[in-house]
């Protein structure tokens, strides 16, 4: 009975941490732009990662569990750094709105005609000139790759963090 209670408390701790992290990130406006409700999808995947971490590490030896925690923490840090790097390079807020758009890295034929050598690193003014329609300026493929990379980086950050946290909670001895 006591063991059951401890398990429930541990799971609740994990779920609470995950939800808190997701909410915090959303409030800070850090979540990836463009995909609708992506923060909830990533939160679900992170929950899956936490459950896996729980399953794999709760009965494993301390050394193995610690190694797992270090790997997850590293993945989380790498994911966060990659996400922030891409965010700085490619995400652009639209002035006066809450909307953010994602740039691409290859100009369309039309953008090449107008901006020539400035491609693909176009100034913000070029976006305003094109009504903030990124796909007029950059090819869909290049915009999609960046959007997807942002989500992958965000996922590694969230899932790694939650899995590391899950492993720590799973290893707690009552």
């Amino acid at each position: 009975m006591k063991k059951h209670l401890e398990t429930i408390i541990a799971l609740l701790t994990m779920a609470g941490s995950m939800v808190s992290l997701t909410i915090f990130a959303n409030l800070a406006g850090l979540q990836p732009p463009t995909y609708p409700a992506i923060e909830y999808v990533v939160a679900l995947l992170s929950l899956g990662a936490a459950m896996l971490a729980w399953e794999w590490t709760r009965k494993s030896r301390t050394a193995l569990r610690r190694r797992f925690i270090v790997v997850c923490a590293l993945l989380s840090v790498i994911g966060l750094l990659a996400y922030l790097f891409l965010y700085s390079l490619y995400v652009e807020p639209i002035p006066g709105t809450d909307e953010r758009i994602v740039r691409g890295y290859r100009c369309t034929a039309e953008a090449l005609l107008v901006y020539g050598a400035s491609c693909p690193d176009l100034p913000t003014g070029a976006l305003a000139d094109a009504q903030w329609d990124t796909r007029r300026l950059w090819t869909r493929g290049s915009v999609t790759v960046i959007e997807f990379s942002l989500v992958v980086g965000w996922f590694f950050f969230m899932a790694g963090f939650i899995a590391a946290l899950g492993s720590i909670v799973a290893g707690r001895k009552g």
Binding site: A130, Q131, W132, D133, T134, R135
Partner: protein
């Protein structure tokens, strides 16, 4: 036949904020002509799509994407070779994301199957006859694409067929009278369809015409000082393209077809920078650029054109 430019920008709703204004020298936009690619074939693929799409209702739009890819692949180096055009199918995005069938196609349906003109044809393109031909193709492609989409989405033909026929008839009348197609026709089309849908298929997503094809847009109306003016607006990016492609980028009835007319009773969804030319009944004209900085929370944003600073 070919058609060169995305069809409607335009749109609706109301708003009240001031836009920023910057005058420019007209000669800043002296045009140069660039060479363009071969003319288009007829839209057989789109017609084929329409007949194929008569199967069971579905909310996926893979087939339409395939058609778009196929049409665009015919012209790999052309103006419309960018496969991103399929992403502009606002029909599908609005239907899937917001559960509204928005009849604004942002030019994606109207531009299916077209190819840019050869450089030696640019003069012909600027003639009224050529523009009429472009618009006929726009009407045909838009009608077929819209019908196919609504059918696939599960709307009954009683909802869309008669309004589309009326749209086609009215649009053809406008073209044969030598006028340009405006967004009002599509607004009316959506209203007619929505009336039928609400009684025949109340459980299906609403049909509307919401307009707006970029990001961060807010609704604008227009004011003139002195009153009774008329303005023409175009995105700066589109204007720069026209300037490089056509000899008369300022000619709103010419080959540069992205100009949109704005008067006292016009509403548009705008964001970013625009080139404008405004005129008043007393003969005053003004050209310049404006930035649409609307307040998304405001019900009314107003862009004001003044004859004098």
């Amino acid at each position: 036949m070919r058609c060169a430019v995305p069809f409607l920008l335009s749109a609706l709703l109301a708003g009240c904020n001031e836009s920023s204004d910057a005058g420019i020298a007209p000669d800043q936009y002296a045009g140069t002509v660039q060479s363009r690619d071969a003319p288009a074939e007829p839209n057989a693929k789109v017609a084929a799509f329409a007949s194929e799409a008569s199967a069971s209702p579905a909310t996926d739009y893979g087939l339409m994407k395939d058609v778009a890819r196929d049409l665009l692949a015919r012209n790999p180096d052309g103006e419309f070779s960018d496969p991103s055009v399929e992403d502009q199918f606002r029909f599908f995005r609005s239907y899937m994301d917001e559960e509204v069938a928005d009849l604004e196609d942002c030019g994606s349906l109207s531009s299916l199957g077209m190819k840019p003109a050869r450089s030696e044809e640019i003069d012909r393109r600027a003639s009224g006859e050529e523009l009429a031909a472009d618009q006929l193709e726009e009407i045909a492609t838009y009608r077929i694409g819209t019908e196919a989409f609504l059918r696939r989405a599960g709307y009954r033909k009683e909802v869309y067929q008669a309004p589309l026929r009326a749209y086609e008839r009215e649009a053809l009348e406008i073209v044969f009278e030598g006028e340009e197609l405006g967004y009002e026709l599509k607004e009316r089309l959506a209203q007619r369809m929505e009336r039928r849908r609400s009684s025949l298929q109340p459980d299906m997503p609403a049909i509307g015409y919401h307009g707006g094809c970029g990001a961060g847009e807010t609704a604008f109306t227009f004011a003139f000082d002195p009153p009774n003016g008329t303005a023409w607006l175009i995105r700066v990016f589109d204007f720069e393209l026209c300037r490089r492609r056509f000899p008369e980028p300022w000619n709103v009835d010419g080959a540069c077809r992205d100009w949109r007319e704005a008067s006292d009773d016009t509403r548009m969804m705008l964001s970013g920078n625009y080139v404008y030319q405004a005129s008043w009944p007393n003969g005053t004209t003004r050209r310049g650029t404006k930035t649409a900085l609307g307040d998304p929370m405001a019900e009314i944003n107003v862009m004001t054109f003044r004859a004098r600073r």
